[in-house]
Symmetry: C4
Subunit: 193 residues, 4 copies
């Protein structure tokens, strides 16, 4: 079986997940700027999750580009991975409503962490049939960045019980790690590895 | 007419169905772990249905791979099949709210069973123009697995009136049947056939 | 500009429209069979609209297969046509809640009629660059079937003020016209033309 | 990385955004024509936003057609642009509920303006690797039309505090600018530039 439909199906699911969160952004009942400003934690939560799902989509995209076949193992690892991504809107909605409470913040960080925990299995299934093994530094840097992301989300879960601002800072750090042009961060990661 | 748009449309519909169920997972009103834990039946229902729709997607994917043309019959059999799949979120939502009641459990099993009932017609329409008849053992095993799934869902419907745990066990058994690497199960099915 | 992305975008929109209606099918509050049975008008409305949107999708699919380019005119005719299709869930939801009232029934028939009213413009834009003019009987039959559908929906709108059962029968007749294998209906239409 | 999946993902997100707005169009509680007519501001808001998102989709489509590679910069500019488009349903819903109030009207215009503000960055990223620089008049006219649209939306934001009718007229003017066959408008823009 070709991997084309696997990509198309994954793109569909991720597009729905990333867009469904906008539904949480309900317009305020009264037409005043004060009421609008009260929505900022929900808007921030939505923007942050949009970025996190965006990072996951880009990495998923890159990973499947290197896969050659859609094996049974890859299909089911991908299904489990999509399931973990689909829990992010739930975490986002709960945290957006209680931005200063430790439990929703920790659960939100947990929903962001879950796809990173499944990712190594997905990667193993995608690359087990790869024609050429990628021994370039790029691949090693990618692997280290995934571990750094995982640690940042886990730290975010713990810091939720100190203050939710620190917790959210961890999620922002993950975004910066992936969005910023690789140069300095990649060199730093390559050196510390 | 080529089958490309038929696959793309089906993938879109199945991706929406599988993701729409996450909307049922409403965040609890208060930011406590007790309230979160009260959601477990809904989360379990969502995870279980994700797997069932996943199984159906993989089988649909495999089936259309073998079809050569999008005939009028195939288009309408596919439309009816997608309709039955689209009832699964309804069954999931009702069962998730009443996990121990016989009627919602039986109806949930019924919504899981419906696409399996339409599947043989879909298969006949997809393969009536197949260039080469597949006489390999793989195809025979596939057919038997579909019948076993159908019987498991039907048993699940009946067992809903005994205890819903047994009923859900049947749905889990269907998932195992398709997710586990074929080896031992396929050999057992091939032998008992 | 190629028509590939136009098809993909249209498929996405139609897939969402056809699946979004399932969200109207809310599970009943109590786990009893009586409450479930009270949902039958909504389920019927959903099933009927699924079929109508299905008919529109198949015809859209066939039409774009014959187009060669995505012109500016085709893009905007297609956008307007998608807009009219996207009103069907609204009509479906209103009629499903008031299945015996004339106004919601007539409005529902109206939302089914609208895409048929825009269709001739869409067809003109799609085929103005077609390489070969299709002078076969098949094309003539297709055109007549569209006019018959349009008249049936319009009749359904009027009959809503007599009894909604007759109105819905018109919508079912449109479905039969397109779903049934063409033979006898096509011959009858070809003769009466 | 090829740009195919970038287009498919963007099409999916835009298709969901354009269709999700229909969910705001809730059927009225009573089956009377008076109640239906009370919905006209929401229906107008939905139709207007459908057109605006349609304009953005067509321009995005044209832009990516000219890009050759999916670079890291293009992926993230596209992600940010999709995020701004995904705020349009929020603006639409708020304005639809308060069509005569200045704050919701201005915010609605603001959500329409945002993707136009990000568009130049998206364009720069998409075209930085374009094989051939487009020095034709068509490209210059396109650029000027984008600036005119941006100014119209900004004017609409300001006019919201005078009367919302003028504000909405600005959004309609943007639609006309892009939907009408280019001839007279393009010549006028080419002359005034």
């Amino acid at each position: 079986m070709s991997k084309g439909r696997l990509e198309a199906f994954s793109d569909g699911v991720i597009a729905i997940i990333i867009t469904i969160m906008v539904l949480e952004l309900r317009p305020p009942p009264h037409p005043t700027i004060t009421e609008l400003l009260r929505l900022w934690p929900v808007l921030l939560a939505y923007a942050l999750s949009f970025l996190q799902v965006g990072v996951y989509w880009v990495n998923h995209h890159r990973l499947l580009d290197r896969a050659t076949l859609a094996t049974n193992g890859l299909r089911w690892a991908n299904m489990l991975w999509l399931f973990t991504v689909s829990l992010i809107p739930f975490g986002t909605a709960w945290w957006g409503e209680h931005p200063a409470d430790p439990i929703p913040t920790a659960i939100y960080m947990g929903t962001l962490l879950l796809p990173a925990l499944v990712y190594p299995w997905l990667e193993a299934e995608a690359l087990c049939n790869a024609a050429v093994e990628d021994t370039s530094g790029q691949h090693r840097i990618q692997k280290r960045k995934i571990i750094v992301s995982l640690l940042l989300y886990a730290a975010g879960m713990g810091l939720a019980f100190v203050t939710s601002a620190l917790s959210i800072a961890c999620a922002f750090a993950v975004t910066l790690l992936w969005v910023l042009p690789g140069g300095p961060i990649d060199r730093w990661i390559a050196r510390t590895g």
